[in-house]
Symmetry: D3
């Protein structure tokens, strides 16, 4: 059950077709997953979202691809986004995340959640040594 | 302003002293930051929390130390934990995170938050290809 | 799968019947959606919840009905409440939200989420000019 | 206390100067608030963030400026972003939000939070009538 | 720094005075804490909020007063509400929460946060035996 | 749909069998719910998680068992963890939570969410009297 109606024939719209073609080319395969099919209900929103995600996640940068997907999955877990947890866990696996690294990721995310709540409860003063603003 | 009273002389309690000694030894310096000083209001809670964090973050494992701190910081951002964002950003820097990697981390965290909210709003069906349970 | 048992014949309880009647009258139709049917497991909780929602959402006030439902949907997205996202997106549509406005709402919600996470990470000092407390 | 060092003389960098000039021109005044000064630690991140926010918030679109800022503030409240709550409440006021509309906004946001948590607890089945995907 | 201006002389407004008097009488002392002073910027919002909180928290009910405040504090921690964590931890202490119970509360909240994130990541199917909807 | 593959025959691994036996013995019945079956994909993560949860939730301590499960459920609601809301509501019922106490729990959780959002929006200064750090 979704809150938007995906177009029946999305690529009839040339703006949508251009984005789908870019997705296919960057990924090297023909599969278009649902997030893009549903976002096609508004071609401008589809364009902006794909460009954001592509520029951050699909271009070489300071952090390698596998680690980027693991960070993305970690944030998606904390934000309770079902679709995102599934798609970015799968993407991290596709980028080479092993089962041991997956278990380790879950260990870090859940331990962080534990201390996040503990410190949101206790509210110790933040040590001056952590000030990185110079 | 905190919700607990840190003990004036925490190391008078041998359980607290043992944990503080372990922190100093593992980190190779004498600084004990406030989270541990405040958690000392309940020595058992201090012990459990330190052991959890130490076992996950201070021991060699499938993911390198710098990346672990970056993932920890990412989750702390999503959970709005001020103390944790400051301490784990500082820890990631101490483990070698460059300014470029820090900017990249923020880019991933904020882009993930954007799509997390977008997909929590649209609720597209989760593609079968993301099912990793088989 | 729910955590409560909705009563088989809720309107046998006069307090539930009174609330259901009020819902029908205010909405001008006979449909009672599941949130009210399930809350009927505790008539007092049903009464309080309906009165809260009715007073805020179904009475003329400083903000028009369509905008109120859009704000309600935005908060529900940020809080990851599936039922609420579905019901208040539908309500906003029923109040006149166009597809273009829906796309725009998602654009604002997701951009806000992006900068929310970015600023929770960077923690710049809050400018004095934003102090509205005099 | 921030996690990044804002450059002492940000406009020495021509990319930063171009963004600051754009901010000044669009707003019609000379004030640059801290979020942009701190984001200048990474000019690319500053550019992306400003362009995102400007395109969504500072251009005429399907939703009027005051309502856009009110929705942005609502999401920032739900995401516990201090800086964003302050800056977007101030922006909504600058766009014409009255005290009565502000109180009404808070009424909607807090009532939504109440039912969000209630329905996340009860989990009633989502009524088929809310399915907008067809 | 607040987003609203508290009235300089709140009790000049008879609606505000009536609420402040009710607060004083129920609590048996003269102290009015800041939440009520700031909410007085909109007397109707003050009335609704106080009545909600009073009816749930200050009247005898199925759960004793100390436990109610501990549950309220737990939710406030999870929602990252600074003011609420401070005020409801103090209220729980005033209702008799011991240091040992406080430490235990933090242990439960932080362990729950740990498994919450873990299960939001793993997404095991929910066992049929947990269905309480009959 | 899950993000991990539960082992087909988990108790073939002696570490998993030891944990499952401990679960059965402490609960006094043979049922192993899905969270443990899925966590068995990584025996070390299973061990750590079970030990954490068991030590906090299944041992006599300062807070009684029913109240502990109610607090756990409250946090799970605020963190939007479906599995946890279902399992800990069921556990609280098994520990003796009545329907009236369940309704009361929901009343507290949802009222707390309401004021949490309200105060995250208004940001009144935290009263000095709430400082428990001295």
């Amino acid at each position: 059950m979704s809150t938007v109606t995906p177009p029946a024939n999305p690529e009839a719209d040339p703006r949508v077709k251009a984005i789908f073609d870019d997705i296919r080319q960057i990924r090297g395969n023909d599969f278009i997953n649902n997030v893009w099919r549903y976002l096609a209900f508004d071609p401008a929103l589809l364009e902006e979202t794909w460009r954001d995600v592509r520029d951050v996640m699909a271009k070489p940068s300071a952090i390698d691809f596998k680690t980027k997907e693991m960070i993305y999955a970690a944030v998606s877990i904390a934000n309770s986004c079902d679709y995102c947890v599934h798609s970015h866990t799968a993407a991290a696996k596709a980028r080479g995340m092993s089962d041991a690294e997956h278990a380790e990721l879950l260990r870090i995310v859940s331990t962080a959640a534990r201390t996040n709540h503990l410190l949101n409860a206790i509210k110790p003063p933040i040590d001056e040594v952590f000030d990185l603003s110079e």
